[in-house]
């Protein structure tokens, strides 16, 4: 790349820009203040001739920094996606003319907005470098699948069929997991009326016979090192032998364990052989070859069965799972059909508090059970006890509001599932807890297993990106990610496998994975100046940064999601991206014109997250929602990337207010980078001190959580900020 930076600024007159704005004046701004070497205007910049005009300047005039003053950076990305140059965008359409009234008295302030944005785009271009792909990128088409149950098998066969090599590591002696021990599964296909074969045998067969799949049974992962494209994994066999292999990506499909409810006396589990779990009924039925099972206690033909739903689940009581395991209602319906299909005279009663049969065919399957004469009783079970040669189930009928009792031959408990998710890396005592062992044994600074989100599941972001974990290139699939049945598991494993393949391909090209998929920039770090404070290594939501022996950060580019949280965290500002840095934003802030106090034109700086807040602003503009002309918006990759210096600089240079717009934080976060919004809120809580030092009112800096749907609320918030400034007065720090 040429050392000399040559800025070309291009002003569009289309979409009404030419009518609403004084384009010649803006040209002068780009030239004189933006220091653009070439400034051109065009009637429709995004059309073929406009694009060709810019490309010609790049090709023949040596333009390597392109500032486009037209529409939002979210519009016309293909037309303005010039290769090997840095491109900045002045948002004159969605950011200016669409949010301002077209009246004479507003013309001046509208033009001022445009003037600032043109100047900002030029200076941003100046401080950007075209990103270059990670030179250390490696292409490794090997996928590691941890776990050989339905999710692991599905993932392996899908990846192998797509042309990738797969290694399955399974702890047990056989493939197939829990599903292999079921008699039948809940139907996956129309008409969803009867239990169907699990198909696990065929799946095992297909996997065992595929030339691109290697299976290690009785084995576990002793260590996982590296990053996407270059994971180095030690596979340890029970026999004591060990093997080291490299992988491009990893899929964790370690499944679940049945919830142990023997400690909950209400269900009487283990007090009688006639009180069994759903899984035990499967085993008994399978052993009986599908015949009606005999009562375990005395071998009597079962004439009546009660199914107790949510046994030890969906309750905040001690020893209960607080979540729903999702499959149990359909499983009980299926099991009741085992009896009804063999002999319709057998009484089968499913006692539930809320019946849930998720999935496309769930409701049909429920109805099929009803057609077959399975009885459904809405009730809360209060005791299950062996009594007089049978089992007594006492429950409160929730429809008739009365306590009642049923005597049956057999009781089946829907006890739910607990994920096999390894260590809880957020709980330092996790490793000492009984039965807990690490699954992946990651060498990452931030812990040996995948982070857990809720209830111990290895999920990352259940709202926006269900397949992602917080460890790039490592994907969780099946019941380890959230409770699910076989059909959902297969779909989940297929989706996660596709993500793993994407990770392999992105890593090979040195590009970011989701959500900045395809981004070639990555953080660079100046060792001189680093104080080894470890904020970046601690705060990185994706565990991308390790530490070396001297405790300097070690960046693993292919683990990085390019959110910039490290850049926002760094107190000495030594972390930056080629095209996004403390300067590329800081200089924009410095180049916003601050009118004198007596002009009565306050200036509000808004740093808006590019994932939700900025698109919401664009949509507000499309709906012609007007907002104050005093605001200047700069998009940021994530609120987590906001460095405090931007705020203090802005306040020092006379801004009257600062607004920070991030995504929803907290337990049900919508932050695309998990922790960014949370961290920003935390960091900004310390701004109050800065404000006090500067003798400024605390209302001048606000942080908001914005959803992409907040297209009416956002303009409102801007206008509220403008009236706050009106109330508390202009900043005294204007020069």
């Amino acid at each position: 790349m040429a050392d000399e930076k040559k800025i070309g600024a291009y002003l569009c007159k289309g979409c009404g820009l030419g009518d609403r704005l004084d384009i010649s004046a803006l040209k002068v701004v780009a030239e004189r203040e933006g220091k653009a070497a070439i400034v051109r205007e065009h009637d429709f910049l995004c059309d073929a001739s406009g694009v060709a005009m810019i490309q010609a300047d790049i090709d023949t005039q040596g333009v390597n920094r392109v500032a486009i003053a037209a529409c939002s950076r979210r519009a016309k990305t293909e037309a303005f996606g010039f290769a090997n140059v840095a491109v900045s965008r002045a948002n004159l359409r969605e950011g200016v003319i669409w949010v301002r009234p077209d009246t004479d008295e507003n013309r001046e302030t509208t033009q001022e907005m445009a003037t600032d944005y043109v100047r900002m785009a030029c200076v941003e271009a100046k401080f950007m470098n075209p990103p270059d792909a990670n030179k250390a990128a490696t292409y490794n088409r090997q996928l590691l699948v941890v776990g050989g149950g339905v999710s692991g098998l599905t993932s392996a066969i899908e990846a192998a069929r797509a042309g990738y090599n797969v290694t399955i590591v399974e702890k047990g002696a056989e493939l197939g997991g829990i599903a292999a021990q079921l008699y039948r599964q809940v139907p996956e296909h129309s008409p969803y009326s009867d239990p169907q074969d699990t198909g696990v045998a065929e799946l095992i067969n297909a996997v065992s016979n595929h030339k691109n799949i290697t299976v290690h049974t009785r084995s576990s992962i002793a260590e996982t090192d590296g990053a996407p494209g270059r994971f180095v994994v030690q596979i340890a066999a029970e026999s004591g032998t060990s093997e080291t292999k490299t992988f491009g990506a990893i899929l964790q499909a370690t499944g679940f364990t049945a919830h142990d409810i023997s400690h909950l006396p209400v269900y009487g589990y283990k007090t009688s052989p006639d009180i069994i779990t759903q899984f035990e009924l499967e085993q008994l039925t399978k052993a009986a070859g599908g015949d009606i099972i005999k009562r375990p206690s005395d071998g009597k033909q079962v004439a009546s069965v009660a199914f107790v739903q949510c046994a030890g689940q969906r309750s905040e009581q001690e020893g209960h799972l607080s979540y729903c395991s999702g499959h149990c209602c359909s499983t009980s319906i299926k099991q009741a059909m085992y009896f009804k299909n063999a002999n319709p005279a057998i009484d089968t009663n499913i006692i539930y508090t809320d019946l849930r049969t998720p999935g496309a065919g769930g409701e049909d399957f429920y109805r099929s059970g009803q057609h077959k004469g399975v009885t459904f009783t809405k009730g809360q079970v209060t005791s299950v006890k062996a009594e007089g040669g049978g089992v007594s189930v006492k429950f409160k009928d929730l429809i008739l509001n009365e306590d009642t009792e049923e005597k049956v031959d057999l009781v089946v408990l829907a006890n739910g599932m607990v994920p096999n998710s390894g260590l809880n890396i957020d709980d330092p005592t996790s490793a000492e807890k009984p039965k807990s062992a690490s699954i992946l044994n990651l060498t990452y600074r931030q812990g040996r297993d995948l982070p857990q989100l809720k209830y111990g599941f290895n999920d990352s972001h259940f709202i926006c990106f269900p397949y992602e974990t917080r460890r790039t290139g490592i994907y969780a699939a099946g019941p380890v990610r959230r409770p699910m049945d076989i059909a959902q598991t297969k779909e989940d494993a297929t989706g996660a496998t596709l993500k793993a393949i994407q990770a392999i391909e992105n890593a090979a090209l040195g590009r970011a994975a989701h959500p900045r998929s395809g981004d070639l920039s990555f953080p660079s770090f100046k060792k001189e100046g680093c104080t080894q404070c470890k904020r970046c290594t601690v705060e990185c939501p994706f565990g991308a940064i390790d530490e070396d022996a001297q405790r300097f950060p070690v960046f693993n580019e292919s683990r990085c999601r390019r959110c910039g949280t490290c850049m926002g965290a760094c107190p000495v500002r030594v972390i930056s991206f080629e095209n996004y840095s403390v300067d590329s934003v800081g200089q924009q802030i410095k180049n916003i014109d601050i009118p004198e106090e007596f002009d009565e034109k306050p200036r509000i700086l808004m740093l808006a997250c590019e994932n939700d807040a900025y698109p919401a602003l664009d949509m507000a503009a499309m709906n012609r929602q007007e907002y104050s002309a005093f605001v200047r918006v700069i998009p940021v990759r994530c609120l987590g990337s906001v460095n405090l210096i931007w705020i203090t600089d802005a306040l020092n240079s006379g801004f009257d207010g600062v607004m920070m717009m991030g995504c929803k934080k907290g337990d049900n976060y919508q932050c695309h980078f998990v922790k960014g919004s949370e961290l920003a809120h935390m960091r900004m809580s310390k701004v109050d001190d800065t404000l006090k030092t500067l003798s400024l009112e605390t209302e001048r800096v606000v942080t908001h959580e914005i959803a992409i749907t907040d297209i009416h609320r956002l303009p409102q918030l801007i206008n509220e900020m403008a009236s706050t400034i009106l109330r508390i007065g202009m900043s005294p720090l204007k020069f």
Partner: protein
């Protein structure tokens, strides 16, 4: 049974407690099965998913001791006596709101009618329930001549709770009746001059045959 000119008597004859005893004997505690076999649209009862939309949609919901949702649950729980002697089903106005709203498409209105009819057949329906009385009178009225005679029906209705009450009701209803007469929407001549269908004998024959077929069908179970 043969005397179809007096349908109410015929029903009473048939609905002796013997019929009830026979059903109890036949089905033991399987009331759900009894309902499935013998009640019009009764095979739908097991398809209820207990959402309660019917209960919330019924215009007279508050007047039901047990809304349809509960009735269905009681049938599943084997509460035979409580269901069949209940006056709940008799609160149905036939507005069909429950039917169109039921997410499981249960023909709830018809099931309620069917349960009421079944209770009546077995002699378990509450004797003095006003809608039951009116409904029986109505059937009697229309099957006599093939067409409804609003005048005789009205008068029998007023006197259904005895003579004194009848006079009271009639007096209360007098202004309504007079204005109906005034606007030619009722005629006192209906007492004597209502002719009904010409083919009223046909209708008698038809209903007799229909009942025979229906009785035979029920015996099958």
């Amino acid at each position: 049974m043969n005397d179809t000119s007096k349908p109410i008597d015929a029903i009473r004859k048939m609905s002796m407690s013997a019929g009830n005893t026979a059903m109890i004997e036949r089905y033991r505690n399987h009331f759900l099965k009894e309902v499935t076999d013998n009640v019009e649209e009764g095979e739908w009862v097991n398809m209820c998913m207990q959402c309660g939309v019917c209960a919330g949609s019924c215009p007279l919901g508050n007047a039901w001791a047990h809304p349809p949702q509960e009735i269905f649950m009681m049938i599943r729980a084997g509460k035979r006596e409580e269901v069949l002697t209940s006056d709940s089903m008799w609160m149905c106005t036939s507005c069909y709101n429950c039917i169109v709203r039921c997410p499981r498409k249960l023909p709830i209105t018809h099931i309620m009618h069917g349960l009421a009819r079944y209770a009546e057949r077995l002699g378990l329906a509450p004797k003095n329930q006003p809608t039951r009385k009116f409904a029986m009178m109505f059937w009697d009225n229309i099957t006599k001549t093939g067409r409804a005679n609003e005048v005789t029906l009205g008068i029998r209705l007023y006197f259904m709770h005895g003579f004194v009450n009848g006079i009271k009701t009639a007096l209360k209803m007098l202004p309504v009746g007079l204005s109906m007469i005034k606007t030619k929407r009722m005629s006192p001549l209906g007492l004597v001059a209502h002719s009904g269908c010409k083919g009223k004998n046909d209708i008698t024959k038809l209903l007799k045959k229909a009942r025979e077929i229906e009785e035979a069908r029920m015996k099958k179970y």
